[in-house]
Amino acid sequence: MVRPSAEFRQAARPYLPVRVTDLAGLDLRTYAFDYDLTLAILVLAPDGYVLHRYGGRDARSPTGSLSMGSLVRFLRGALESYRDYARRPRARERRPPMRIEDIPAWAEKMAERRRRGRPLDCVHCHFVYDAYWEQGRRDGTWDDRRIWRFPPPARIGLVLDREEQELVREVRAGSPAARAGLRPGDRLLRVGTQRILSHADLSWVLENTPYQGAELSLRFLRAQRERGATLRLEAGWRVGTPLEFSWRPSKWRLQPRPGFGGRDLRPEERAAFGLAADAFAFRITYLVTWGPMPRYGKAAVAAGIRKGDVVVGVDGAELEGHDHFHAWWRLTRRPGDTVVLRILRPRPGAEPERRTVRLRVLR
């Protein structure tokens, strides 16, 4: 049992707390965070300036950036930032608000729902990326690189500590962070103009760094001495791997699609099939032969895929699970490709049937 701490109450007391569960009517330019997340925390000055962000995750763990201890440290540090800001507010460009309702593709979709008597009762955070995507596709401005939102510290080769989130734990050899001279044990102070208190603070700086590459100034502590360095990011730096993308709910809208999905086998189910405990294996629980894009599911059925089949191999790719499979398909397969699936089909009272299915990737 995790118990709420007195430290948290004390650290949170100076703040005016607000819970937001509905993005309807909110200015997305002010309340900007990674909308794929299920939890995001912002520290905001009353004038609307976001001082710090907290939250984030990666493909292997939804909790890699979350802990009560790190949140308490974050709140204490962010209060210092607020006091500095209150003494010297930053002059900022005033831009008109931009709400999800101002995105025409979204507004039309909602109008259609209202016409059908099925209005949404709540605008979930992840709807924002869907709306951007739909609008971008509609007006021809969509760029596939836009899926790489809020790059995590690992994108520049950094592993930051979970409890003391400004502390560098690891630096990947050959990465931009390594080339900048960062080492384990360093403590990030600032990247660009952003004071770093959390993984999310760094991701925010990276979110605002162009795809084409850029140089960012770093300030950090090493052996109690403040130092500076330059982080150089080259063209294409934001693009990650299908695994890095796999946790995001926004992956579901991308095409091409396999037309089927399901859930990863549990360890005991893997054992029953004679598979290793960490083997890639998911059971197909649905085929999408309905809805606005039935073509993918119908092609899968025609190729011989059935509900209940267990997918254990895909083109020899090293995949970690069902979500990884879906991200891999959408990001690396192109219409006209053929994907070779290795499948186990359970048979009552007998060994599973081993099948190989060739499935053509549709547009």
Binding site: F33, I41, L71
Partner: protein, 54 residues
């Protein structure tokens, strides 16, 4: 520290802050849901806002 899911951390943030428990009696800590009004109040009181999006 034990791992927390985003949902669990959010729940604990709320609980820790005093909703629905004995803590409330000791330290009233009221979560606002009207963001515009909360910003106006924060400006009057000279306090930062802690926004939890969930």
């Amino acid at each position: 520290m034990r791992e927390l899911s985003g949902g669990r951390l959010a729940a604990l943030v709320v609980l820790a802050a005093g909703l629905g428990g004995p803590v409330q009696a000791q330290e009233p800590f009221v979560w606002r849901t009207d963001l515009a009004r909360a910003r106006a109040q924060a400006a009057e009181q000279g306090r930062p806002l802690l926004l939890v999006f969930r």
